[in-house]
């Protein structure tokens, strides 16, 4: 009970929180046990809704007083109305989604501002693992290939192309080390050194995002 209620946030989530306007409406896709939203609601005066499907995490979020809607990100984001939130967060979840392009389309429809964090398959440790003939296992990608919840692996370079073609402008990129802290000097080459990265995105306002709603 105490762990859930602490205001201390994982480092990468603190960085996400810093990019969210106090008092705004936040939708957190893959909210886990709701720690980011709990922090935003209580420390930043935000209103928030979480989406999660893991049973224990849903119960933990509800216990913590975070509103959480159980639904499948792949097929049911149409439940949320156009422009109904100020920010949509997708934290360390994109890699576990079967249809990432559709999810991004919904995110751009639901809010003009999106924050996405993703593990970087292009980090040098992962490259070394592959050169030595093995699938990488790291703090950011901690599973064996056969039991990983992740179904999508990308380098930051390819990810940025994907954001661009999906209609998002990258306002900010925050490359993180394996402890979830911002990179120091190595940040000049994030694709090689970052274990993961947080992206602050703006949905292209000239695009007709509502077309995705029907899905």
């Amino acid at each position: 009970m105490t762990a859930r209620r602490t205001t201390e946030l994982r480092t990468d989530l603190t960085l996400v929180a810093e990019h969210i306007t106090p008092g705004s409406r936040v939708l957190d896709l893959g909210c886990g046990s709701g720690s980011l939203l709990h922090y935003l609601i209580h420390q930043r005066g935000c209103q928030g809704t979480g989406v999660e499907i893991d049973d224990a995490k849903v119960v933990a979020a509800i216990r913590a007083g975070v509103s959480v809607i159980e639904l499948d990100l792949n097929t049911q984001l149409g439940e949320f109305a156009d422009d109904s939130y100020d920010t949509v967060v997708l934290s360390r979840t994109l890699q576990a989604i079967r249809y990432p392009a559709q999810v991004l389309q919904h995110m751009g429809r639901i809010a003009s501002r999106c924050i996405v964090s993703v593990p970087n398959f292009g980090q040098w440790r992962n490259r070394l693992a592959l050169i030595s003939g093995h699938m990488p296992i790291s703090r950011d990608l901690p599973w064996q290939w056969y039991d990983s919840p992740n179904v999508r692996y990308t380098t930051l370079k390819d990810l940025e192309t994907f954001f661009d073609t999906s209609g998002f402008r990258i306002d900010e990129r925050i490359p993180l080390n394996s402890d979830g802290e911002p990179l120091g000097l190595t940040r000049r080459n994030p694709n090689l050194f970052a274990g993961s990265a947080i992206y602050v995105l703006t949905a292209d306002p000239t695009r007709d995002w509502s077309r995705t709603r029907a899905h």
Binding site: V59, I62, I69, E70, E79, S84
Partner: protein
């Protein structure tokens, strides 16, 4: 007091035999509120009549209710239970001499999700019912005989008006939570929309904000079975000394089919024969499922009134609170929180009914949580002790209690 176990359909006892068997032999399960009695109070009279949403009035309204647990000094630990179509005030514990507990005993009691060690729990029989609260079979003070079809048509808001009068009688301004399944959940929704300041936390299970044509069709056939029964006598059957037995029995049998999933029926009965090795190939009761429905219909006659069945099902048909675009205005400004739940095998009020409620509330800016619980037992799952379902209610109410402190 009539047999109090069934609420909408088959009960926990039917589906979880090991649990109910134990209770029936020991008489009291761990975590039981123990022996309870139903109380009655007259909440409206000729000088303070009940004004209905339709504009009609009722000059005498008595309400049957039960309470469990203790109201705290600050009067802010009350949890209100709204029952479903054919439920009653006896939600938990045992009546003297009964072997079966109240209809939601698996949820309500010391250490249970609706924890009577912490909460003061109130459960009344609703207006229009027939289990101690004024309904169409009650005596009309103007004529001295039962109302029959002279009883005014009711709306969901009328149930809430009477619930609120009961709260006032008990000296309670604000609920910690209101909890209900099926028609009970619809009352909770109506209450939270019309008086959000009174319902800090709303738990709405297997409910609907708008019946579909199929839902209304089932209710229509049930009502026709009753009304066309020779014993109905235009609703004056109590004076005539008859009962629309066949109609009420068929209504109940058909409703029971809708309360269970196909999977649950297959598992419970399959194509098993009731008490024969080989099929009799006649029109009598041969299959186990026929015997079950027959038994449910028979039991229902002893405890439920046909007029109440007409009036209460009709309230559900017309219920459509979100048709008013301003319906969510008050609750969106309040601190009220919602927990909405559905069951994946429920085809009476399937998950889309709950999603409609969630979508509307969420889009209005309300704090709403939603879960679809996986359960094989159809609509009646809400009466069963599914661990994930109960853990979710428990988490929601634990947080509610903590926030109230």
């Amino acid at each position: 007091m009539p047999d109090s176990t069934p609420v909408t359909g088959f009960t926990a006892a039917d589906a979880v035999p090991d649990e109910s068997d134990r209770r029936e032999t020991t008489g009291e399960a761990p975590g039981s509120v123990g022996l309870v009695t139903t109380q009655q109070v007259q909440l409206f009279d000729a000088t303070h009549p009940l004004g209905l949403a339709s504009g009609n009035t009722l000059t005498e309204v008595t309400v049957a209710y039960e309470t469990y647990g203790t109201l705290n000094a600050t009067r802010d630990n009350a949890v209100f239970i709204c029952h479903a179509l054919t439920g009653d005030a006896h939600a938990a514990g045992y009546h003297a001499g009964d072997s079966k507990p109240g209809w939601w005993d698996n949820l309500i009691g010391p250490g249970k999700p609706v924890d009577t060690d912490r909460f003061f729990v109130i459960c009344p029989n609703l207006l229009g019912g027939c289990q101690g609260t004024t309904g169409p079979a009650s005596r009309n003070p103007e004529t001295g005989v039962s109302y029959g079809l002279d009883f005014p048509l009711l709306q969901m808001a009328d149930f809430v008006t009477v619930h609120r009068a009961l709260l006032a009688h008990l000296g309670i301004d604000r609920l910690l939570a209101a909890v209900g399944g099926s028609l009970g959940g619809m009352q909770v929704l109506q209450w939270a929309l019309s008086a959000p300041e009174q319902v800090r936390n709303a738990v709405i299970v297997a409910a609907s904000s708008r019946l579909t044509a199929q839902n209304i069709a089932f209710s229509a056939v049930a009502r026709q079975a009753i009304i066309r029964d020779q014993g109905f006598h235009g609703g004056r059957y109590l004076e005539e000394g008859t009962l629309p037995e066949t109609g009420l029995r068929i209504a109940r049998m058909m409703a029971h089919i809708t309360y269970l999933s196909e999977e649950a029926m297959s598992e419970k009965f399959g194509r098993r024969l009731q008490d024969a090795e080989i099929p009799r190939h006649g029109f009598g009761v041969d299959f186990a499922v026929e015997s079950y429905l027959d038994h449910q219909g028979e039991k229902f006659l002893n405890r439920f009134d046909a007029l109440s069945y007409l009036y209460l099902t009709r309230v559900m048909d017309y219920f459509d609170p979100f048709a008013d675009p301003a319906a969510t205005a008050a609750v969106a400004r309040s601190d009220s929180r919602f927990l909405v739940m559905s069951f994946d095998s429920d085809w009476r009020f399937n998950t889309e009914h709950s999603r409609q409620i969630v979508r509307t509330l969420e889009r209005a800016g309300c704090a709403v949580s939603f879960r679809e619980i996986s359960s094989a037992w159809g609509h009646d799952s809400f009466l069963l002790a599914d661990p994930i379902y109960h853990a979710t209610i428990e988490a929601f109410l634990d947080r509610a209690a903590e926030e109230a402190r």
